[in-house]
């Protein structure tokens, strides 16, 4: 039994989403042309999340992928909330005041973000009031703290990450009179999520990463070939600096128990994450919250379980590492993806596949002979080559889908094997997670013309 190619396509395309930055008067002044994103679940339900939004009160665009663990609650909450925290962190003092006044007097709020969401990307309506109140408290503090300095993006990102994680933790400790919400905030806090977020404003690209998702820049070399530049560091046991950091933060006596079997305290793969209060709270706090919490929480073995060798919490932080990169004309695209992709594909292959896909699409720009001397044979060769390239990508209108097709279906020769693809996609739910992880990908395409123009200005 095999899925037909069209069945395969409908599975692969179910979650695909594309956004093209609109042009005004025929001009796209943004350094971003648009992005393609997609998700392929392995868990049921999927634990990955993705977000994309344009900042409306400052410049720039935010894109992020979030990989949840121990459930999807935390990833969902972060995907809904983090960009608001970042946007607020970036806002100038006057705008914050304006927003606060609007809320105070019940006027309509300035819109802060324009979301670019797939219909399947949802917001939890029940928690919106709670989330809003936390956010408002944050900006009220920012107003009070008014430093008078212009906001640095790096700092804003770090603050936003930390603040949100803090709020998640606090909300869980305080609880909510509404029993549904009370359970929700606990679920959020006890589950975890990594986050890899890019902020693009002109040629300034910032990537803030917490955990083991990854950002990668696709660079086209002068000879037309593709290379990959990492814009994030994985926070896991393979990262020596990260292991060093964790060890530094705890007494020498714990050195051996801190990282076991490449996991934090022998349990957690990512070394940084949102939520996961089991790795952050003191044992007393955990016990108190669990005991006073709803029965569902109490019955859950996982939440009750205290990690072994748990002496000097917190062991985990949501603080991101931020990398700043000045975009150059040869920087053609950025790939943000959860570890589901990186486990199966090398970044060099990712760069090549996306690069060829994007240029293949672009190569549909017509050929004109003009005044050149071209023979029939040369033209024939050129056309044959273009056809071959186009036919390999024509199936997908979305770079992320194309990448997933390769990630899941690649055979040993690096080409998509339909049989393999079909097999992988028809695995029963309970088996799927053993062969592959959730995959979430965002491919951001840059506008080389605009980037080139920026460069010339400088």
């Amino acid at each position: 039994f095999y899925l037909t190619p069209s069945q395969v396509n409908s599975i692969l395309k179910a979650n695909e989403y594309s956004f093209k930055v609109p042009e005004f008067d025929g001009k796209n002044v943004s350094s971003v042309l648009g992005f393609d994103s997609n998700q392929l679940p392995a868990n049921a339900p999927i634990e990955d999340r993705r977000s994309a939004a344009t900042c409306l009160q400052t410049r720039g665009m935010l894109l992020g992928v979030f990989d949840g663990h121990a459930g999807c609650a935390c990833a969902q909450a972060v995907s809904e909330r983090l960009f608001y925290y970042i946007a607020v962190s970036l806002l100038p003092h006057e705008t914050l005041l304006e927003i606060e006044n609007a809320v105070e007097s019940g006027r309509a709020l300035l819109p802060i973000l324009q979301w670019h969401k797939h219909p399947n990307d949802y917001f939890s309506k029940e928690a919106s009031k709670l989330y809003f109140n936390s956010l408002r408290t944050y900006w009220q503090e920012l107003i009070d703290l008014n430093s008078g300095e212009t906001t640095d993006v790096r700092e804003a990102l770090i603050n936003a990450f930390k603040r949100l994680d803090n709020d998640i933790s606090l909300e869980a400790q305080v609880g909510d009179p509404n029993s549904f919400l009370n359970y929700l905030v606990l679920q959020v806090a006890f589950s975890g999520a990594t986050a890899c977020v890019a902020h693009v404003d002109g040629v300034d690209l910032h990537v803030a990463n917490t955990g083991d998702s990854r950002a990668m820049l696709g660079v086209q070399e002068e000879d037309g070939s593709w290379s990959a530049v990492n814009l994030s560091y994985d926070h896991n046991a393979q990262n020596e600096r990260e292991v060093e950091r964790v060890k530094m933060e705890h007494p020498k006596s714990e050195e051996k128990s801190l990282v076991k079997q490449d996991r934090l305290l022998g349990l957690l793969m990512p070394f940084r994450a949102f939520g996961d209060v089991k790795f952050k709270w003191s044992i007393e706090l955990q016990k108190r919250v669990v005991e006073s919490g709803p029965d569902q929480l109490n019955d859950n073995e996982y939440t009750k379980f205290i990690p072994p060798n748990y002496h000097t919490p917190p062991y985990l932080t949501a603080e991101p590492e931020v990398i700043h990169h000045k975009l150059r004309p040869q920087d053609k695209f950025l790939v943000l993806a959860t570890d589901g992709l990186w486990e199966t594909m090398h970044r060099q292959d990712v760069a090549r596949i996306v690069g060829e896909y994007l240029t293949g699409v672009h190569h549909q720009q017509p050929i004109a002979v003009g005044g050149y001397k071209v023979t029939l044979g040369q033209m024939h060769g050129l056309l044959t080559e273009r056809r071959a390239r186009i036919s390999s990508v024509f199936k997908d209108q979305n770079a992320a889908t194309h990448l997933i097709r390769h990630a899941v279906g690649n055979n040993e020769f690096g080409t998509v094997d339909h049989e393999r693809l079909s097999k992988m996609l028809s695995l029963p739910e309970e088996l799927a997670r053993m062969y592959r992880d959730d995959i979430t990908i965002i491919v951001v395409q840059f506008n080389s013309h605009v980037i080139g123009a920026y460069q010339n200005e400088e």
Binding site: P366, V369, T375, L376, G377, L383, T384, R386, R387, I390
Partner: protein, 882 residues
């Protein structure tokens, strides 16, 4: 022709003697810099206004002026020959499958050949010949069929071997060829210069030509053309000719009363190269490689090569866009497959340098044939457009026929296959046209086997029984937008690819149709014939009867309830229509005609009926579902369902009664079948259609009833020697020529249309005779099947062509119907065809170059009538009896 120079509002009157004309052709775009002479005012009136200065418009002007008409104005919105004509590849090719198109191309070739001498304008005419290549046996068969028709027209043409191809054209790779057709007299021209030459001659004959004048719309009053409105004022005129090429559709729709001209443009690409190192000779034959979808001609020492790709790009669906036509892009990726085909055919061209890829929109029509003739709604409004990219081949002949049409009321040849009136409003949907032309353009080079059907634009008009029949295995074909059943694939008979099989030999539906025919002969079958055109004519007094008596050759003053088969003849006694008319009451008649008569017959009646508000003509085609019950047991089924006696005494043949069938009352039942078998046609108000069908099928079960399709009907009618209008009969055929004198009542006391000619033929004989041929040494399983258009030879000499053919399951032989002429052996003059002449010949039918012996008959086989007929059926069964 396309308009380009909107910026320039000035106009010059175009004069043949004007020395500037040469510059206009050589520098189409630079004209804005040249000093423009003062525009000459348009005349206030003219007899004829022609819109469009391409090859069509200039050819019509040329021929009209040759026929002595002088008061003609030709308007061109841009420059003469600046539209599709300018871009045309300039190939004059006579190898055309449709006879009338072949004749037009043949005439064009002869015309262009002497045009330079006549006008002094260089036309670039060069007789190069053409080679059509066959990569497959089936392609070779189709070429052989064309070769047969060219040969009998006296056009030199031969089927040649691949080796011979190489001798004629050294660049051709012949290793994948099975043969080819060589037409040595085909030619090349500069199509723009041909138009200019035609314009020059027309201008000398007094035609006024105005460039940069665009027609905004045509004014029509009370059904007659009264004038045209242009951007430079109004011209009153009696005749308007729409030769606007790809803009013809829009121009037709621009007025208050639309004239529907169903055509749609597609991009068409061809390649121009620099000369070869050793420049190609200008006399090198043109190569057509239909299996590779390309044509290749020599061009200024290099080549010009284009084609008809599988995935055409339709354009201007939303209407005219001035900017676009100038900026149409070269699309190399689109041209890629054709370039591959070119290099496969001529590998030696690899190193040849490209000059340009030309994108030249061409207009295509829903059935791949061009559009000419008069609007059915606006008299004096003529059209010549939609050339399916063969404009230069047809230009001369088409212009001639249209000029004859305007001057004489009808052209000298049967042009029904090209007549605008074969289309109605239903083919005018932009979506329909867009989809259909995407099928038509690749079809230009597709292999066309007998009885192929269009696949796009389907399921537009359907019977209410469509789904029921479809569920029972119906396979469909389309006529005038109406879905008709070809045959029914029996359950369990899994012939999935039945519809896809393409063959010139025995088709795989052979046994299926055979069993349907058998059932028609031995039991009873139901055929849904709802597509037929149905009109009602009624009046307050005797106007209806009087008018019909004048318009029809048979006597319609019959008792109420009688059905009469009769021709609707023109002044020359030719069939404009062939129909059955039932007298419903003293003052009302019900008329049934072929499906594609809906527009033509309506227009004919409208034009000929007196303008009398008490005389009402109504098209009721859509109101009735027609079920044909064929077979000896039809009478049993119907009498059980109606509790009415249906025997010959109570319901003789050629009768019409309203009766009940099942619960449904008011069903119009006629004892006619269109095939000669016993049976009835039920005209059922559509809301009762499903009920009556179900009742008939249920009741019929015990009589062995089954569904049947048109292929069974065809076989039955052809073996019975029944002629069908549109296939066998046309406006140039009289009842006397097809053995239907019994349908002509010369002495009915009325000087009906065509009577004089018929009287003369009765006294002096006819010049062609409809004859039935039974193929003798033809092996149904092994030999090529006849189709239509096969040459007929009598004692080794060509005497005519077949018009239809079918396998007769009764005779177990193929039957061809066709016309026999008698050409004088020395002069070629047409002589009277006598019965003896027919009977005393030895006949052969030429199928793709192979001749089969045939027995000629002027009367159907009486032995075919297994059922003893009722005595009053003599007329029905003896359609052809005298």
């Amino acid at each position: 022709a396309a308009g380009m120079f909107l910026r320039l509002l000035s106009d010059i009157q175009w004069r043949a003697a004007h020395p500037k004309w040469r510059r206009m052709t050589s520098s189409q775009r630079s004209t804005s810099t040249t000093a423009e002479p003062q525009p000459v005012a348009l005349p206030a009136q003219a007899q004829v206004v022609i819109c469009g200065g391409g090859v069509m418009g200039t050819s019509v002007a040329y021929h009209l002026s040759k026929m002595g008409w002088k008061d003609i104005v030709l308007l061109e919105q841009g420059r003469l020959a600046a539209g599709t004509t300018r871009f045309c590849a300039g190939i004059v090719s006579t190898a055309r499958p449709v006879s009338i198109e072949l004749k037009m191309a043949h005439y064009s070739n002869k015309l262009y050949q002497q045009l330079e001498q006549e006008t002094g304008v260089q036309t670039g005419y060069m007789k190069t010949g053409s080679i059509s290549l066959a990569q497959t046996q089936d392609r070779l068969i189709s070429l052989k069929r064309i070769a047969s028709s060219l040969n009998v027209m006296g056009i030199p043409c031969e089927i040649i071997s691949p080796k011979k191809v190489l001798q004629l054209h050294p660049l051709i790779n012949i290793h994948d060829l099975v043969g080819a057709m060589y037409v040595p007299e085909d030619a090349l021209v500069s199509s723009a210069n041909v138009s200019l030459a035609l314009a020059t001659a027309a201008s000398r004959n007094g035609v006024q030509i105005h460039e940069r004048t665009s027609v905004s719309h045509v004014t029509i009053q009370k059904g007659y053309v009264t004038g045209v409105e242009t951007d430079r004022g109004r011209i009153q005129c009696e005749y308007f000719v729409n030769c606007a090429g790809q803009w013809a559709y829009e121009l037709g729709h621009s007025g208050e009363e639309p004239v529907h001209i169903p055509l749609h443009a597609c991009e068409h690409f061809y390649l121009l190269t620099h000369p070869l190192k050793e420049p190609l000779s200008s006399s090198l034959p043109t190569v057509v490689d239909p299996d590779g979808r390309i044509y290749i001609r020599n061009w200024q020492g290099g080549i010009l090569s284009g084609g008809f790709e599988k995935n055409p790009k339709p354009l201007f669906t939303e209407g005219r866009n001035q900017l676009e036509i100038q900026n149409l892009q070269e699309d190399w990726d689109h041209f890629g497959p054709l370039l591959s085909a070119l290099l496969r055919r001529m590998p030696g061209l690899e190193s040849l340098q490209i000059m340009q890829l030309v994108n030249c929109p061409e207009s295509f029509t829903p059935d791949m044939r061009c559009i000419m003739g008069q609007s059915p709604t606006a008299r004096g409004y003529f059209v010549l457009a939609g050339m399916n990219s063969a404009g230069i081949s047809y230009g001369g002949g088409a212009g001639k026929y249209l000029a004859e049409w305007i001057v004489n009321g009808y052209p000298s040849e049967n042009v029904w296959p090209l007549d605008l009136k074969r289309f109605g409003t239903l083919q005018s949907s932009r979506t329909f046209l867009r989809h259909r032309v995407m099928e038509v353009m690749p079809l230009m080079y597709d292999l066309k086997v007998p009885r192929w059907d269009f696949q796009t634009g389907r399921q537009l008009r359907t019977s209410p029984l469509y789904d029921r029949l479809d569920a029972q295995g119906a396979r469909w074909m389309e006529k005038h937008g109406f879905e008709r059943v070809k045959y029914f694939v029996p359950p369990g008979n899994d012939l999935l690819d039945l519809d896809h099989s393409k063959t010139f030999y025995k088709p795989d539906w052979f046994d299926i149709v055979g069993s349907e025919v058998k059932c028609c002969k031995e039991a009873v079958c139901v055929i849904d014939m709802s597509s037929f055109t149905k009109f009602e004519i009624s009046s307050t007094g005797d106007q209806a009867l009087e008018s019909l008596q004048y318009l029809f050759s048979n006597d319609l003053d019959v008792p109420v309830g009688h059905v009469v088969h009769t021709g609707m003849l023109n002044e020359k006694g030719g069939y404009e229509n062939d129909c059955s008319i039932a007298r419903l009451s003293k003052r009302s008649f019900f008329m049934i005609s072929p499906t594609d008569q809906q527009v033509h017959c309506w227009a004919w009646l409208k034009n000929h009926l007196p303008d009398d508000s008490n005389l009402v003509l109504e098209d009721v085609t859509w109101k009735y579902t027609a079920l044909n019950l064929i077979g000896p047991r039809a009478v049993d089924v119907l009498s059980e369902l109606s509790y009415a006696p249906m025997t010959a005494e109570h319901f003789p043949s050629l009768f019409c009664k309203e009766m009940s069938v099942g619960y449904a009352n008011g069903i119009r039942v006629m004892s006619i079948t269109h095939t000669g078998e016993p049976g009835f046609v039920l005209y059922i108000p559509i809301e009762y259609a499903l009920h009556v069908y179900n009742e008939v099928m249920n009741m019929g079960q015990k009589y062995g009833i089954r569904n049947a399709g048109y292929y069974a009907l065809r076989s039955l009618r052809i073996e019975k020697f029944f002629a069908f209008w549109g296939q066998d009969l046309d406006a140039f055929t009289t009842p006397m020529e097809c053995g239907r004198e019994f349908q002509v009542k010369l002495d009915k006391g009325i000087q009906f249309l065509g009577r004089e000619v018929l009287l003369d033929q009765k006294q002096n004989g006819v010049y062609k005779r409809f004859t039935m041929f039974i193929l003798e040494d033809h092996d149904t399983d092994m030999d090529l099947w006849p189709w239509w258009g096969e040459p007929i030879f009598r004692n080794g000499r060509y005497v005519g062509k077949t018009t239809s053919s079918a396998y007769s399951y009764t005779l177990e032989r193929h039957v061809c119907l066709g016309f026999v002429h008698h050409f004088d052996e020395k002069t070629g003059e047409e002589l009277v065809v006598t019965t003896d002449f027919i009977n005393q010949g030895e006949y052969e039918i030429d199928i793709a170059g192979q001749r089969f012996q045939a027995k000629a008959k002027l009367y159907p086989f009486s032995s075919l009538f297994t059922q003893r007929r009722r005595k009053d059926e003599v007329e029905l069964s003896g359609y052809q009896r005298e």
